[in-house]
């Protein structure tokens, strides 16, 4: 089990992460979700023992990362965004060396290596020199090095970045397969990526945890993040009032005021979990209210929208 309490990290005077607190159960796959610069990588570096926290505690199976760093590092496997690989070594030699460095005996490494190679799809590439592998296979070697010593916690920073669509699908499958045996923490700025892979979402904004929970729990709180734009003819203020009165509508605002006889553009954020029905209700309500509707354009749940909404929620709660 991973327990993080009040974790804060400053780079000089710049606060990278602030007062993060969460816990991850054994075998869960958790996803750090955040925009670029939200503090995901810094948080992962601290959890991996690469950086020390300014304050707060991180415990892996009850062992503190600051008090007993060597014991904790033995239980952690970490893959940064750019896989750290000694390119002149062969895949097997590299993994064997790292397994030993992380406390395994020679016989333990020999026994575990074939299963790790098979799990990461590298069985046919054990004798290849790492420098000759494609990016997709280097990422696989990166994951293999993170699990070679059978760690409790596997930390993967943007594991699918830079991969082509096919490699992304394979990598997601691989990461998904790590759950159960290991507690896995991945980071991404792609909402769909994390939703497809993770049991627990940890949403970071400006170095702070703005939401955490399962996909359903987060959607119940903030909706799907879906929105649509609609061109409305008539009294736009009355139209906005009519829209916001509807269930399933989080917010409606005029994003472009129409001129004489021209329609106004209204952007509507949905709060429910059934965007299609909510959009139909909104259009029906407007038409029924005597407003002219000339264009409806839907948008999927953009991460940015979700974060803006979450930031608003945080402010409201403060």
């Amino acid at each position: 089990m991973i327990e993080v309490d009040g974790l804060t990290k400053y780079y000089g005077d710049i606060r990278a992460i602030s007062d993060l607190s969460f816990s991850i159960e054994r075998g869960q796959i958790a996803g750090f979700l955040g925009l670029n610069g939200a503090g995901k990588s810094t948080a992962l570096k601290v959890l991996a023992g690469f950086l020390l926290p300014t304050s707060g505690t991180v415990r892996v199976d009850g062992v503190d990362v600051v008090a007993a760093p060597d014991k904790v590092r033995r239980r952690i496997g970490y893959l940064p965004e750019e896989p750290p690989l000694y390119k002149e070594m062969t895949v097997s030699a590299f993994l064997t060396w790292l397994g030993k460095l992380r406390g395994m005996s020679g016989s333990e490494v020999v026994a575990r290596l074939p299963s790790v190679l098979e799990r990461t799809g590298l069985s046919q590439h054990g004798d290849r020199v790492i420098g000759t592998l494609s990016l997709g296979y280097r990422k696989r070697v990166g994951i293999a090095q993170a699990i070679i010593h059978d760690p409790t916690l596997v930390i993967l920073d943007e594991p699918v970045s830079g991969l082509d669509p096919l490699q992304r699908v394979e990598m997601r499958k691989l990461v998904r397969g790590l759950g159960g045996d290991h507690t896995v923490l991945i980071s991404s700025h792609n909402l769909l990526e994390v939703e497809e892979t993770c049991d627990l979402l940890l949403m970071l904004g400006d170095g702070q945890l703005v939401a955490q929970g399962s996909e359903d729990e987060i959607h119940a709180r903030i909706g799907t993040g879906a929105s649509f734009e609609i061109d409305v003819r008539g009294d736009v203020t009355a139209a906005v009032t009519a829209l916001t009165a509807l269930p399933g509508i989080a917010e409606a605002k005029v994003t472009r005021a129409g001129g004489e006889g021209a329609p106004s553009e209204v952007t509507v954020h949905l709060a429910g979990d059934d965007p299609a029905t909510e959009i139909e209700s909104a259009v029906s309500a407007l038409v029924g209210g005597g407003f002219g509707v000339s264009r409806v354009e839907t948008a999927t749940g953009e991460l940015e929208d979700l974060f803006l909404k979450l930031a608003g929620t945080q402010e409201g709660e403060a």
């Binding site: 690469f50 020390l52 033995r74 460095l101």
Partner: protein, 241 residues
């Protein structure tokens, strides 16, 4: 010690698998051979002990150069390639990482020194050489190599650029050999301190002539420990940055 041995093994492997180790070793041995032929043997007849003294004199300079060149990549390259994370997230302590890195470069320097042994052997075959003189000279070179590789390991920990590392290392190594010049213009007690810090005149001169002084062994060992300690502190500080 297992972590240190593993790091040493990988680093030595990197020297042998890459071109840099071979190039540096070949270049140093070639220069040493030329200097031995031209200056130590020379055209005029010399006593064997004088030939040996000349051999150890330029060998010290070559050892300094080899040490700085071999150690420039130790940490700078890992930082540049982003592989330092493998060591820093392993159970190995900063001290073990430092020791492993330094020891690999030092062992490679010792291998180069071992490969130069044919030169004093030639003197022994063609003249009269006291084994103690050879032993003292090589002990001095090994100690200079230890101190200079520690210095190079430290400069390598300061930057992610091997060029900056080797320039810094070169400047520091050169300074250690001209401290006697500064001591001449400094006032007491600074002059004595500067003279003591000189790698050659105060300390290596004796080894060159076949004498082993404990104070010089302690000096080189202390310099080695000092720079290794600095390196360990730099690695530790980076975790807090």
């Amino acid at each position: 010690m297992r972590a240190v041995a593993l790091i040493v093994g990988r680093e030595l492997g990197a020297y042998f698998r890459g071109w840099s180790g071979w190039i540096i070793a070949a270049g140093i041995l070639m220069l040493q051979g030329v200097l031995f032929n031209v200056f130590a043997l020379g055209d005029n007849e010399k006593l064997s002990s004088k030939v040996l003294q000349d051999f150890f004199y330029f060998s010290m300079g070559m050892t300094l150069v080899a040490s700085v060149l071999l150690s420039m990549r130790l940490i700078a390259e890992e930082r540049h390639d982003g592989t330092m994370v493998l060591l820093l997230t392993s159970p190995a302590t900063d001290w073990q990482i430092t020791l492993g890195k330094w020891m690999s470069a030092w062992i490679f320097v010792l291998l180069i020194l071992a490969a130069s042994f044919y030169m004093p052997l030639m003197v022994a075959v063609n003249g009269s050489v006291h084994p103690g003189h050879v032993f003292a000279g090589y002990l001095g070179l090994a100690l200079v190599g230890a101190a200079a590789t520690a210095l190079g390991t430290f400069t390598s920990s300061m930057t992610s650029s091997q060029v900056v590392s080797v320039v810094l290392g070169g400047i520091l190594a050169a300074l250690t050999c001209v401290m006697w010049l500064f001591s001449r213009v400094a006032s007491p007690p600074l002059d004595e301190l500067l003279a003591y810090l000189d790698f050659y005149y105060r300390h290596f001169q004796d080894f060159r002539e076949g004498t082993i002084h404990t104070r010089s062994v302690v000096f080189y060992s202390s310099v080695t420990f000092f720079f290794l300690l600095l390196t360990q502190k730099v690695l530790g500080a980076r975790r807090w940055r």
